[in-house]
Amino acid sequence: MTFQGTKLAFASALALCAGLGVAQAQQTDITVALQLEPPHLDPTSAAAGAIDQVLYSNVFEGLTRFMGDGSVVAGLAKSWDISEDNLTYTFHLQDGVTFHDGSAFTADDVKFSLDRARAEDSVNAQKALFEDIASVEVVDPLTVTVTLAQPNGSFLFNLAWGDAVIVAEESIEGIKNAPVGTGAFQFANWVQGDKVELTRNDAYWGDAPALTEVTFKFISDPTAAFAAMMAQDIDAFVSYPAPENLPQFDADPRFQVLRGSSEGETILSTNNALPPLDDVKVRKAIAHAIDRQSIIDGAMFGLGTPIGTHFAPHNPDYVDLTANSAYDPELSKQLLAEAGLPDGFTTTLKLPPPSYARRGGEIVAAQLRAVGIQTEITNLEWAQWLEQVFRGNDFGLTIISHTEPMDIGIYARPDYYFQYDNPTLQELIETLDATTDPAKRSELLQQAQTIISEDYVNGYLFQLAVPTVADARIQGLWENAPTQATDLTGVSWAE
């Protein structure tokens, strides 16, 4: 046994003793670390996933909600009726729900929240979710009807998003710093730059959570994350930032590592309007030049599932199309030659901050270089990336993980930053949006996946994994991340 091993074993023994000490009084507090701090605490007016990471389901709830497996279930709406024409939804609300400030939750709050989100001057980052709503009517305090302008097969799914949570008009003013929701935990304190503290909401309408006190700590630096975890300053780290450290946690009995899947399709986004990338042969050449497995190994230390299209592999409708873009540099060179570029070409590769992009970018660049495609790498901050790549379309290639669930619809938007304009697909997505029959939807989704895969719109790399490192005694944490959330309502310490 090595010295290091001895020391660790000794430390775990200590930890064990400590654990015995508190065993009498069941531990009910938890410190969860997250990589990013929310900019403010209003999930309905910013895109920052960090806000949902802290508040979704813990503090704020919507009419419907996601579960850990990705399914959508009832939330504040206990049940609902959908009209024949799929245009009118009547929601029956949970009775006896109060906001943390003591005010009652009623249909008025639902109307206020939805109207606010879709209003002219709304600053809701996902305003498109509410696009189809024609009107929201309060029937009685516990009933509300929502009328759609056109059928929307994913309306209930849309309402489960963090951007669609119910807020109260009385407390909207201070929501950014003192959020008031209906959830199982209520906001207690926020030390900016450090942590957010929540306490149990004893008046919670649903099942009381096991935890009484929750602290979210924000640790952006991976080294610090590792050190804090190892020193057990924190009990869990959701979406642990450095996959390279996971084997060390695996080997340490004090910890458990959950390797969940996220909704994040990590893709080599390609500017389909920029020559020579507008040539499908060139894009196909790029696709074949890339060795997904070595990207997953090199950038993510093995963590991640290869994908061949823009769809989450854990979704039942997923089609495995990785074979379309199998690693084949010779074919790649041949395709380039066919496209009239036997000597390759030069393009830009603009990388946002996450390590999957920065590291993956270096590997992609090396792999593309091997077939003659030169890339100029530029590392960008998010704000610059949004400005240059996303809004400015000033890029050749970029690497980004699209974390929004079920977002294949973006391929039907010709103005979307990868500028893919295919009327066939656009029509297909339109049909899909209006379809509510699950079987039909599944078929359409599979068709869409195949179309974009065979058009090589982007280079499809891997589904982003969400590793969660936690104290071995913690149970009930979400393994997967169907949405960005750290739902602690079902979390508890084992005996």
Binding site: Q126, G193, D194, A224, P353, A383
Partner: protein, 315 residues
């Protein structure tokens, strides 16, 4: 003295005014829009426009500059675009980490540097001097973030004497908070103390060759007495200058160290604010840092006067 102070004060104000313009211009040309950043990739243009209006970003730059400066004059730095809290309060919170850290590091560095510098100067050219000087050369050459990494590796991960970072807040008790600042302070202090020790030594050596040191010895003071009674105070002026510079550096330069130890200080605030294009926070924090540098220089000048009577009578 009064005139001197007033003149310094005037140049301080002019500097600040120019600095505010420079800061505003530099930051405003930075590409990237705070509203788009906040709303992410699915946001629609009208939503972004609505947010811009809400944030007050839709008025002219001159107007924004004037309201920023006007607010600052009344102690109001405005409201953060992303955090939506008063910048004044955000800064106040962060200052309580950065300022103690800077002071802690400066104290450590002084505690190391003064004895080392004095020791080396009093043993000029002897093995003790050479050893100390060699050590300071090494100290200067070590990048503080690398040193910080090693400290974390050894003291937090392996030995677990300190937590790897974070800041529990002063509410948790003075020593708890101080302990959390210890590794960062050491990482910051090491290169600073090496520089300070060298300045101390060379300043002392300069003084030691002054005529009045010989006078002191002729009075019957021993080397040591002459050094302590006559040398130190005179050697202090260049040392004070460096300490002033170092303090400013520590206040702002802790950025990387604050990153490594995830301390919620000014440095991290500015990093976050820049990446979120929270322009008003960036502008205000940079302004504050510039102000602190200018203020520290002003105070150092006053401290000179306390040390050196020749400057006191300068009108």
């Amino acid at each position: 003295m009064l005139r001197y102070s007033l003149k310094r004060l005037l140049s301080l104000i002019v500097s600040l005014a120019i600095a505010s313009v420079v800061i505003f211009l530099v930051i405003e040309v930075a590409p990237g829009d705070p509203a788009s950043f906040m709303l992410g990739i699915n946001a629609q243009p009208d939503t972004v426009a609505a947010l811009r209006a809400e944030l007050g970003l839709d008025v002219s730059k001159t107007q924004r500059y004037l309201s920023w400066v006007g607010g600052m004059l009344q102690g109001d730095f405005g409201t953060s675009y992303t955090y939506r809290t008063p910048v004044t309060q955000m800064i106040a919170d962060r200052v309580w980490v950065s300022l103690p850290l800077a002071l802690y590091a400066l104290t450590l560095s002084t505690l190391i540097a003064f004895p080392a510098g004095i020791y080396a100067a009093s043993r000029r050219g002897k093995p003790g001097d050479i050893t100390v000087m060699g050590a300071t050369q090494l100290g200067i050459a070590v990048p503080n973030f690398w040193f910080a990494m090693l400290l974390v590796l050894v003291f937090a991960i392996n030995l677990r004497w300190f937590s790897a970072g974070g800041f529990p807040g002063w509410d948790e008790g003075f020593f708890v908070a101080l302990k959390a600042l210890t590794l960062p302070a050491i990482a910051l202090a090491l290169p600073q103390s090496a520089i300070l020790a060298r300045v101390m030594r060379s300043s002392l050596l300069d003084i030691l060759s002054e005529d009045f040191m010989r006078t002191a010895r002729a009075k019957g003071l021993s080397r040591r007495q002459a050094l302590w009674r006559h040398g130190l105070r005179n050697a202090l002026v260049p040392v004070l200058t460096i300490m002033g510079l170092q303090f400013s550096f520590l206040l702002a330069g802790g950025i990387i160290i604050e990153q490594v130890f995830f301390l919620p200080g000014l440095g991290r605030l500015i990093f976050q604010a820049i990446s979120a294009r929270d322009l008003i926070v960036v502008e205000s924090v940079v302004m504050l840092l510039v102000f602190s540098v200018i203020l520290v220089n002003f105070l150092v000048d006053l401290a000179y006067a306390a040390v050196d009577p020749r400057l006191r009578s300068r009108t």
